[in-house]
Amino acid sequence: MRLNDFIRVAIGILISFLFYTIFSRVSPSFLLLFNVFSLVVFYFAVKKGEIFGSCLGTVCGLFQDYFFSGVYGVAGLSKTISGFLAGYLSKKIDVQTPLRNFFFLIILLSFELILWALLFSFIVPESISTGGGLIFFQPVATAVLGTFAHFLLKKFKKDKY
């Protein structure tokens, strides 16, 4: 892994950290709607492969657990597995076009949400707050944000070179 990759990952994590810090104070509902840490994991998993995806999933998952002040490891575990899957599947199928990218994200985000909910209800003896059903829109809303960000990044790179 090159130094450049490290910087990119650090920037990705930093942006997500900022997003979570600000919105956990201003409007926590946003955190139920957009899973920004997952976007960072999936973006780098697709680029760098499943090992990188699972390791970054561990790091980002622990960050997410920090913000949710729950049990450390719940989001970590679900992100590790989904990060691995993102890296593995992206080698088998093409996910570069916006539409494919969108559906790929929806499937992975739904899988991650289900896994997280299962682990959470298994470990924590209380019901998950759905934020008035907002959490069910998380895969779609995050996928829209992710596809848009992916499109912008691609455009930025094209313009640069």
Binding site: S69, G70, V74, I81
Partner: protein
């Protein structure tokens, strides 16, 4: 490297990471009120970063407030002057009423003591997994925060209690709307006692009020205040208002209470810096 070896390596790493997570989770379960050493370390490392980011954005917000809203100051000033006038009148009336029972010196001492024991704090994080469960405040062990200290909102209504000082500058407050919270309360009218528990969705339930209690004894719209019998919350703090009372086949009434504190304005809060046991010395 051959593909099967590469895939095997990936799987080994994945299994190792899963094992790490299981180990991490098992270190924290069963969940108690107290934060684990791991959790405390993480909070100690990241809380300065979080504080920095929030302070930065708060200062931007302050510039906005100080500059762009300056034109409203005149009007606000007039309004506040009027409000102070009424509050002073009210204060005098209450002092006079109190003097019937205590000496002036005693009252002054009590007021000063009360003023000194209040620690203004800010909410720096909610629990996104359940907004009505707990909040994180910007005061910790460094400020003398201890478990079970009472937390009020800016109007003096009950918010909850400190469950754990997570780091030097952070503490977790269990709100009264948490379904694991329990407070001894009574309805103000006829002092009917009950236990107030959160429903986890922003409201509270007043439990163990017998179904035989008549509407004359307890009714909708009554204030609910702390009784002090739980030996955590001192008596007389305003908690909420009864919004519905229903009776079914069970032994007890189903009483819904709406807390007085407002989640939307839960920005500044006050921690009562008295050890809860001090309230119950006598």
């Amino acid at each position: 490297m051959p593909l099967f070896l590469k895939e095997r390596k990936s799987l080994t790493i994945l299994i190792a990471l899963i094992f790490f997570h299981f180990l991490l989770i098992s270190m924290q379960v069963p969940l108690g009120e107290k934060a684990s050493i791991f959790e405390k370390t993480v909070f100690s490392v990241f809380s300065p970063v979080r504080h920095g980011i929030l302070s930065f954005f708060r200062s931007i917000g302050n510039v906005w407030n100080n500059y762009f809203y300056l034109r409203n100051v005149q009007g606000q000033n007039e309004q506040m002057k009027e409000q102070i006038f009424y509050l002073q009148q009210e204060n005098n009336l209450l002092r006079n009423a109190l003097q019937k029972f205590r000496s002036e010196r005693e009252i002054e001492e009590n007021l000063l003591e009360m003023h000194e024991s209040i620690l203004p704090s800010r909410v720096i994080g909610l629990d996104p997994s359940n907004f009505y469960k707990s909040v994180i405040i910007n005061r910790g062990t460094l400020d003398g925060i201890k478990k079970n200290m009472v937390v009020l909102d800016k109007n003096g209504d009950l918010v909850g209690r400190i469950v754990d000082a997570i780091s030097l500058k952070e503490a977790r407050v269990q709100m009264i709307t948490d379904n694991e919270s329990g407070i001894s309360v009574f309805a103000e009218g006829n002092r009917i006692r009950g236990i107030l528990v959160g429903d986890g969705e922003g409201q509270c339930l007043m439990r163990y009020v017998l179904a035989t209690t008549t509407p004359e004894e307890i009714s909708e719209g009554e204030d609910v205040i702390t009784s002090g019998y739980d030996r955590i919350y001192p008596s007389g703090i305003r908690v909420g208002r009864i919004v519905s009372i229903t009776t079914d086949t069970s032994l007890h009434k189903h009483i819904v209470v709406i807390p007085y504190f407002d989640f939307r304005y839960l920005d500044q809060i006050a921690v009562i810096m008295k050890d809860p046991q001090e309230f119950f010395k006598d």
